[in-house]
């Protein structure tokens, strides 16, 4: 078992009342899991992901990573952001080297950075600033940065939703290729998305949350052959099934 989410609840307190966002979430993450968390908007998917990574503290409950309580400093967990979160004043390569340096993987900075720049297909763009890249290319840098720290667990917060349909489809396929490559990190992925088709296309496990306060409604294993075919009727049976569980 890689990680365990145990009795996690989250409430936000405003001046007048308490808002419960997540209610007693439990599941565990195993090796080779590609988990998608889906649910209606406002159900606390992103909050859950932030708690798993250690960016936010749950109101009650705990998240264990390899038996220890998670902290955001953990170098074995990396994150990919919806709006890329690249440092605009650093070049592509510097953006990646920065996190390598901070995660204490200082040796062979340049070599590691270049390896992952190449892996996401951005060779030749090492010295370019993020503002000069298209959205899809920026997210490639986001992936390269997260992979470069060679994480065991990769967490992604709607990584494709600020890209156009065509770009995101290409990027999904490339990401799946990297995922299939045994030499590449990570060992497990958790991805938050509101796109059911995307979840069925990519993951081998889907966790469905209820409307607020989010509870685990279902935890499905997707038993479809890879590479998956969107036109396959079987594919659509899975999509319909997930949809029916969300509402």
């Amino acid at each position: 078992m890689l990680a365990e989410i145990k009795n996690v609840s989250k409430t936000y307190e405003t001046d007048s009342n308490k808002i419960s966002v997540l209610d007693d979430i439990n599941f565990s993450v195993e090796d080779n899991d590609f988990i998608c968390i889906v649910g209606p908007s406002g159900c606390g998917k992103s909050t859950l992901l932030r708690i798993i990574v250690g960016l936010e503290k749950p109101t009650s409950g705990e998240v264990f990573f390899k038996g220890e309580v998670i902290s955001s400093d953990n170098p074995k967990v990396a994150m990919v952001f919806q709006n890329f979160a690249l440092f605009p004043w650093l070049t592509v390569q510097e953006n990646i080297e920065l996190v390598l340096e901070s995660k204490k993987q200082g040796r062979e900075l340049e070599k590691t950075a270049c390896k992952y720049i190449k892996a996401v297909g951005l060779d030749g763009f090492e010295k370019v600033y993020p503002r000069e890249l298209s959205g899809g290319m920026k997210q490639r840098v986001g992936f390269a940065r997260a992979l470069a720290v060679e994480p065991v667990l990769l967490c992604m917060d709607e990584p494709f939703s600020s890209l156009d349909a065509l770009t995101s489809q290409n990027l999904k396929d490339e990401l799946l290729m990297l995922w299939a490559d045994a030499n590449m990190p990570p060992d497990a992925v958790i991805m938050v998305t509101h796109n059911v088709e995307e979840a069925v296309y990519m993951s081998n496990r889907i966790i469905i949350l209820s409307p607020r306060p989010g509870k685990v409604v279902a935890d499905l294993k997707i038993e479809l052959e890879r590479p998956r075919n969107r036109k396959d009727p079987e594919f659509y049976r899975w999509v319909d099934k997930v949809y029916s569980l969300i509402v």
Partner: protein
Amino acid sequence: MKKGHFILLIILFLISVTSAIYFFDIIDFPGLELLPYYAASSFLRMGVAYFFSLCFALVFGYTAATNIRARKFMLPFLDILQSVPILGFFPAAVLFFIGLIPGRPGIEVAAVFLIFTSMAWNMAFGVYESLTTIPKELVEAADSFGLHGWQRLESLTLPACVPKLVYNSIVSWSVGWFFLVASEIISAGSETYKLPGIGSFLIDTTYSGKIALMLVGLSILVIIILLLELFIWKPMQSWADKYSYEYAGEKKPGEFIFNTKIIKFSFRIIFESFSKVMVALYIVFHWHKLIKKVSKFLGYLVLISALAYIVYIFLTSVAKMLLNLPEDAHSIPLAIAYSFMRLSVAYVICIIWTIPAAVYIARNKKASSYLMPVMEVAASIPAIALFPAMVVIFIRYGSLDIATIILILLGMQWYLLFNLIAGVKSIPKEVENVAASFGIKGRLYWKRILLPSMFPSFVTGSITAWGGGWNTLIVAEYIVFKGQEFHLFGIGYLLDKATFESPDSSMVILSVLSMAVTIIFLNRLIWQPLYRKALAKYKFD
């Protein structure tokens, strides 16, 4: 013609006129050969004050942004400091520093201090705003990739401050020139202290009626300001663009007549070494828990003792005043009313001309390429420096009232104009397209689209314009020319009279305080609610 060319042309013209007078000895004036030395000393004073402002801004802004408890009293404190007319406190500051350090060094410190007080607050706000508006995801990325301590400082905190800090530095320098002119001749009590510099040269020559010489000094001042604009601020702005978050990154049109790569490269080197120094300091302070605690303790000690000192001075002087109320005290409310009326008249004139001018300039590319440099040059001349010359004209041909109002206008109008131009330019293209495609024109267009979208920048511009106006007031209601004194009744006059004519420290404090209270009252009552409304209702984002 590019804007840079135009500015360069103006510089060349000024240089040739000035050097003609200078080298051909058209005017015989002892000490004219010292002008370069005067200019250099003035520039040095500005530089030193700027350096301290920068350090203050970083420390203050960083603390206010990261320490929620400290923020609660730091921000209102800064707000008050910013809205108080600094010029009024100046005599007191001079006496304090001269008491501390006798002789010229004391006066130098006092002058630098005055310039510092005009530069520091807006830069500190800039740092605070930069740090509190870093995009949330970027902060989370820094957290999740374990960027802490000095690494975070170097890779996130300092770079995030760059764009606003550069922009506010430019504003600070132009305000600083105004205060430089005011700070080089200081009368405190019965003494008059003078420092060699371009500001004292300007005032000296005017007061002794040597207008041609005054013009030479003025053009040297303008030349320095323009050279800075061309070789420091413009390249610095384009360098700072690298640090802004706008990923979509439209390239701004090049305004340059020369390649600024070398200048930009040197900015980078300076910035990187500066941030290395900050990082080193950070590491030293966080090296051991004890050092951190001791430095924190010392910081609080300094802060609290400074506050205690200010409160002490304040209370004792208030007590003194109450025991022995100056005889002029009863006329303060009326004086404030008079001054307020003058400011209002100037403000109304400002509004009347700047709104159409801003729309025209922002909309008309060709006109703006000629008008903007001229406006910027005009705006860069500290209003104080022009006052003596205007008095000469108006004493002969008109009334002092008109001169005063014109001077206040000069101290107010540019803030409003430049803010409004930026406001018109920031109206999104889509909104314009909607207006065009639905045929919204004429009055309806002004009423429903143009004026509402200018409203936020109108409010920001007005706040700074009034701030500038109050400061100008202090020098605009009282003047000595050729040994003769002219004045208009108002709070500025009362203040100057208590400073220069019949020294009365409690009257100085009383008039500055009542002025400050008026300003804070106006800010709270009018500008802040308007600003909130502007942000809530009329802001595009």
